[in-house]
Amino acid sequence: MVLEVRELSMSFGGLKVVDQLSFGVARGERLALIGPNGAGKTTVFNLITGVYAPDGGAVVLEGNDITALPSRFRIRRGLARTFQNIRLMAHLTVLENVMIAQYARAPGIGALFQPVGFGRSNRWREEARGALANAGLESYASQMAGGLPYGIQKRIELVRALLAAPRVLLLDEPAAGLNPAETEALHQALEAIAARGVTLVVVEHDMQFVGRLCQRVVVLNFGVKIAECAVAEIHRDPRVREAYLGTDELAA
């Protein structure tokens, strides 16, 4: 198990948002976290990354209990994420945006003064540029991230997360708002990333996408795990069908 949550619980003002949640992800696996809106999926991500401190339970990364570890240290342990609403830095260029994540690999006060902006070539800058080129985004490198199209920003966010060299990547609705061509490109990119050994945990509503990419599924409703099964079996599980009653998200 490269990532495990054990009996994780979190309440907001008396309302239990996550209730005794337990599941694990094996190294190299691709797990989907699904459930209707408001089921607590993003909250789980926030708990795993340390944005919130749980009321109970534990988060275990590569065998180490990181529940009490401050959020900013978790990326250094190989845990990176992307966001549901794109969170790029509006006042930095695309290149600068993705370079931010490099700090996690070589943190420390000295690293802050790395002269990354000097000279014709600098290994950090070149590495970032290379990563953008691999994703087909090198033409955007000098543009301010703030004004770019949605689909482009989503891809940049992924490059940024990868530059931290994570071993576990949490993706919050990566396919949201993408057209079919973009979704296919995303699928290809994630397959390539997984092939390099990165473990993926994906929150998604697009069931087709989940069905193609992931192997296993954890289903959440009202903060409780109601099912955990192989991806092919979601449609058959009565509890899952009931949770999605009234929505046509499962139709795919």
Binding site: R72, P115, G117, F118
Partner: protein, 271 residues
């Protein structure tokens, strides 16, 4: 060099140092209306050290930088727990409290002003200014510049990316305070007389405004702002008040048309 030209250049040098003193916290997202307080702390502590202990004025100025920096660091702890407008208000309140405190310190003249006999000439002032500009430009070619901007743009994500939000904010605030102290000490030792009445929030407002004039999107913006603010009245030869009227109108115009400042947003490092 004529005395007049020299005093204009000295003011340009000092205003440049002050511009960067305001610029550093602003890039970190902090509107520091307490700049004047740290200028005063630098001016008064530098002047006091050179007068009372006979310290060489340049050493006194350097010591003043340390004093202002330490005070900035101490104050940063409570102040940086606030955000946005609360932060601006807290620095405003701090400024007035510091000014009020100095006005009551009779050991440095209180409300009557404080003469500082030891002199620092133009060449040294100019050297300091040049060093500050070079240092800040170099700083913004390192990871520091983009990290601080990231913290200002999105604290939550900067933290998740592994940056120490509190550390960077404190560093920016403290460095700003230290630079402000340098500006104050240089002024005190060149013009040889300082008055606490000058260091109210309006002083801070002037500095912040001319930094915004040049823009905080590039590292040369503050330099441009300081230049416009210092040289404009000389070109127009009006009274001090007319200079401020024109400056204010300029700000209003720029904020209407080009709020990012004259120098438009660019990358911190462009290749």
């Amino acid at each position: 060099m004529s005395g007049y030209l020299e005093s204009v250049l000295v003011l340009l040098a000092i205003n440049t140092v002050l511009a960067y003193a305001a610029f550093l916290p602003m890039v970190a997202g902090q509107l520091n209306l307490g700049v004047a307080a740290f200028v005063a702390i630098g001016a008064y502590s530098g002047g006091y050290l050179s007068q009372t202990y006979g310290l060489h004025p340049v050493l006194a100025a350097l010591a003043a930088v340390v004093v202002a920096g330490i005070m900035g660091w101490l104050v940063a702890f409570p102040i940086l727990r606030t955000r946005g407008i609360y932060l601006a208000l807290a620095t405003f309140a701090l400024n007035q409290v510091v000014q009020g405190t100095i006005l009551n310190l009779n050991v440095v003249g209180g409300a009557s002003g404080y003469p500082v006999p030891a002199h620092i000439g133009f060449p040294v002032v100019a050297t300091f200014a040049v060093l500050v500009v070079v240092a800040v430009v170099a700083l913004f070619h390192t990871r520091f510049g983009i990290s601080v901007t990231a913290v200002s743009d999105d604290e939550r994500v900067a933290d998740l990316m592994g940056l120490s939000v509190r550390g960077l904010q404190t560093a920016a605030f403290t460095a700003g305070a230290a630079l402000a102290g340098l500006g104050g000490a240089l002024y005190a030792h060149h013009f040889n007389y300082i008055e606490a009445q000058n260091y109210g929030v309006l002083f801070s407002i002037y500095v912040v405004l001319y930094v915004l004039l040049g823009g905080t999107q590039t590292v040369y913006g503050p330099l441009l702002g300081a230049a416009v603010f210092t040289l404009l009245p000389e070109l127009l030869r009006g009274s001090a008040s007319w200079r401020y009227v024109i400056f204010a109108c300029l700000i209003i115009a720029i904020m209407s048309l080009r709020p990012q400042g004259v120098l438009l947003r660019k990358a911190w490092f462009s290749k």
